[in-house]
């Protein structure tokens, strides 16, 4: 006969106000196999746990039911207490009488809540009687990490992991590290030069013994599970031998063909063989295959003629490499929304209507104008600039519903940069709210207004059009209640930050979630902000949502410390809730293999002593199995069962209802 204890929690008034917990305990007393019952104010408190432990020992219990809140909350707590008291933790079951019971019933006589609680507890009790002792599964960990994306967040994560003594593979899809931060001129709120603080980090990555850098590469496939991923990486053909190239630049100086520079957002041209910017890491060019006449139609080849070390190879092909890693950090960053959605602002139609990153390039000492603010149309220095915030952000009709969070700050920064460079220039800012929550941020925007004379107008702009060489900006200032028309020389749109085009695709490859805006989803927005629902995969930076550099860097470091924590143990414990095959009855129909969403079931050969294959059976890879139970439903011969959730347990619970 089992010796079971039932503990009913009052959860203060959370449960007790609609459930008569004493009555529930009382009812359980007479159930066969129950030797002890109690109700208590807070089972999860230390005294609650202590009394649980003591009772287990004192009454020599071999199983317990805790009727309390959702198992999501405290199953771990109570199982741990059992373990300390010498009981197998999987002999502890939770009956949830709070979330879907006490909280949803408002009957003051406590009648409905109590009856339901009794039913739920009785069911759990019957289930528990069929529980087996289970032991945690131990799996080995490959102590190398993959970081996807070489913006500031990814760089930070990679450096922190590598400095902690672990090997890192960093995959960046562009020819150089740096991401969006490499394009910025100076950065709020301290106004330090972005390149000056970014490039040392990029070089550090390049020189780090523990970091393997794959630029111009993308993750193609990810197999495996926490601690044991296998990653397939496509190294796109650079057409330049990375080992031989010295980065001398003879090739790109010689190349006769010019293309709009992506890095400069079309403000200037680059060559067909190019590095995106002078401080690129690695300083090795790539040939833009689509636009290269040599590759497309065997004409030109000028670069190869001048290359001293002869490292140009027009026949190079993409390379596929595989790497084993134990953890993955996603740091793929953001893009700016396409402004073509906002024809009323004339982006694309008028050359002097530009976006924020283009302004950064104009203001950057290494940019196309060497840091002088000039109109793209005629190179003149603008005497007035209108900045329009929230272009596409907070716009449910035509853009995205969310706030892009950083534009208030960088627009204030832009007005300052402009003032510092063009002393008699006047900036105007159309804003809806100034969101400057952050250390020294409010002071920063006030400075833009009070000291640098930016004219802030509270309202949106309806339209921008050209008249006599000026850009006419027609908007409103709602504080004065008036329509405002400004004739400006240049207009800068603070366009919404959006997720990368390929974010959903990558999320699916990695098996992690994303929201309706295609930003990656955190496991828990407050308590697990860098974890994903998939063990071993972490998030950093703007691929999660709009944020500034300090936040992106913090997240990079946070993700790195999660990886370090994972790598600090040699083996990884996993819940033993996995599928099990009773091999004797398996008839090798492979329905389970097809059904399993995690490819966790293998077709295994059974051999006799002579080594001949006598039969085939399904076998579960415990490392991959997540315990979802799909195979159990698929198996026609009832050969597969789920440990901890056996058919027997489930039917017993149902029968007890």
């Amino acid at each position: 006969m089992p010796r079971i204890g039932v503990f009913v929690c009052q959860c203060g008034n959370n449960i007790a106000s609609t459930v008569d917990t004493a009555k529930v305990a009382e009812e359980m007393k007479d159930m066969p196999g129950v030797v002890y019952t109690a109700d208590y104010k807070f089972m999860c408190s230390s005294p609650g746990q202590e009394s649980l432990k003591e009772t287990v020992k004192e009454h020599k219990l071999d199983g317990i039911v805790v009727a309390a809140c959702s198992p999501h909350m405290h199953e771990k707590t109570f199982r741990k207490a059992c373990e300390k008291a010498g009981l197998n933790p999987y002999k502890c079951e939770i009956a949830n009488i709070r979330e879907q019971c006490s909280w949803v019933h408002h009957d003051e006589t406590k009648k409905t809540g109590t009856i339901k609680s009794i039913d739920l507890t009785r069911m759990t009790l019957e289930r528990l009687k069929r529980n087996k002792d289970l032991t945690k599964i131990s799996i080995p960990i490959t102590k190398r990490a993959l970081v996807i994306g070489g913006g500031v967040a990814g760089i930070q994560a990679a450096l922190d992991i590598a400095d902690g003594g672990r090997d890192v593979i960093l995959v960046e899809k562009e020819p150089s590290l740096g991401g969006n931060m490499a394009k910025l001129s100076e950065t709020f709120p301290t106004m330090d030069c972005s390149q000056c603080i970014m490039t040392p980090k990029m070089v550090e990555v390049e020189l780090h013994d523990r970091i393997t850098l794959y630029t111009y590469s993308e993750v193609e496939k990810v197999d495996g599970y926490i601690g044991n991923f296998t990653v397939t990486i496509r190294k796109k053909a650079r057409f330049v031998d990375e080992d031989l190239c010295t980065g001398c630049g003879d090739c790109w100086n010689k190349c006769p063909f010019k293309i709009d520079s992506e890095f400069e957002h079309g403000l200037t041209k680059r060559k067909v063989i190019y590095t995106p910017f002078p401080q690129a890491v690695p300083n090795i060019p790539v040939i833009d295959k689509e636009n290269c006449p040599k590759i497309q139609k065997d004409k030109c080849g000028a670069c190869a003629l001048v290359c001293g070390p002869e490292c140009i190879d027009f026949t190079q092909e993409d390379k596929i490499v595989t790497e084993d890693v134990g953890a993955i950090v996603i740091a793929t960053g953001f893009d700016l929304m396409k402004n073509s959605k906002f024809a009323e602002y004339g982006y694309g139609k008028y050359k002097d209507v530009i976006n924020g990153l283009q302004f950064e390039r104009l203001a950057s000492a290494s940019g196309p104008t060497a840091g002088e603010i000039q109109r793209p149309s005629d190179g003149k220095v603008p005497q007035s600039i209108v900045f329009i915030q929230c272009v596409g952000s907070r716009n449910e009709e035509k853009g995205v519903s969310y706030c892009s969070k950083i534009c208030c700050m960088y627009t204030a920064k832009h007005t300052m940069l402009y003032k510092h460079k063009v002393h008699d220039g006047q900036s105007y800012v159309f804003y809806m709210d100034i969101r400057a929550g952050g250390k020294r941020y409010e002071e920063f925007t006030r400075k833009a207004i009070e000291e640098d004379g930016a004219m802030y107008l509270r309202g949106r702009v309806s339209r921008v059009y050209e008249k006599n060489g000026k850009l006419v900006v027609q908007g409103a200032d709602t504080l004065s209640g008036s329509q405002v028309v400004i004739e400006a020389d240049m207009v800068v749109l603070a366009t919404a930050l959006v997720s990368r085009d390929n974010a959903a695709d990558l999320a699916q490859k990695l098996g992690v979630g994303y929201d309706k805006h295609k930003f990656f989803s955190e496991y828990h927005p407050k308590l697990k902000p860098v974890e994903t629902v998939t063990g071993g995969i972490y998030l950093a930076g703007t691929c999660v949502g709009p944020m500034d550099i300090p936040e992106s860097v913090s997240m990079g470091s946070a993700a790195a410390s999660k990886v370090q924590a994972l790598f600090s143990a040699d083996m990884l414990d996993r819940e033993p809730i996995t599928a099990e095959v009773a091999e004797a009855t398996c008839n090798a129909c492979w329905d389970c293999v097809t059904a399993c969403p995690y490819t966790a079931i293998d077709r295994t050969e059974i051999k006799n002593r002579k080594g001949e294959v006598v039969s085939m059976v399904a076998r579960v890879n415990k490392g991959l199995c997540t315990g979802c139970g799909t195979c159990v439903a698929a198996c026609r011969s009832k050969t597969i069962d789920l440990a901890g959730y056996t058919d027997e347990q489930v039917y017993a619970a149902l029968n007890a209802f």
């Binding site: 853009g399 949106r460 309806s462 709602t478």
Partner: protein, 135 residues
């Protein structure tokens, strides 16, 4: 201007009525001013479209009704076409006009329209004008 705000203002029945007949929700408006910025006639209005909606949010029935704004609105839909929140100030103005016209109060007396205009203007101007100004 000075408003004394009471609970009754916030729960204004007049505003609720306008919302009902126009299908608009004044609370959707977050006062960005795009409508006022783009409205070709807001310069002639006592209060621009977004201010009228603000006054509605504050339950200032009289201020809304006294303003000339509803009669100046040409119904060009520029406001709606660029409103990030999908609010149509044009619909709201129509609702405000309807409330007046449905009481039988005309904004424009037909006799007052000069003969040359009556004769020379396209019929559609008259039909449309009567719909907007005459009960």
């Amino acid at each position: 201007m000075k408003f004394k705000l009471k609970n009754e203002n916030i729960a204004s029945e007049f505003v609720a009525h306008i919302e009902k007949i126009t299908g608009e929700n004044a609370k959707r408006c977050y006062q960005c001013g795009n409508c006022t910025g783009g409205c070709p006639v807001s310069f002639k209005m006592d209060h621009g479209p977004c201010q009228i909606i603000r006054l509605m949010q504050m339950g200032q029935d009289e201020a809304v009704q006294e303003a000339n704004s509803m009669w100046v609105c040409v119904g060009c839909m520029q406001c709606y076409s660029r409103c990030p929140q999908g609010v149509s100030a044009a619909n709201i103005f129509e609702g405000l006009r309807q409330v007046v016209l449905r009481k039988g109060e005309d904004h424009q007396e037909i006799e007052d329209i000069p003969m040359p205009l009556l004769k020379g203007a396209p019929q559609q101007a008259l039909v449309c004008g009567f719909r907007k100004f005459v009960s």
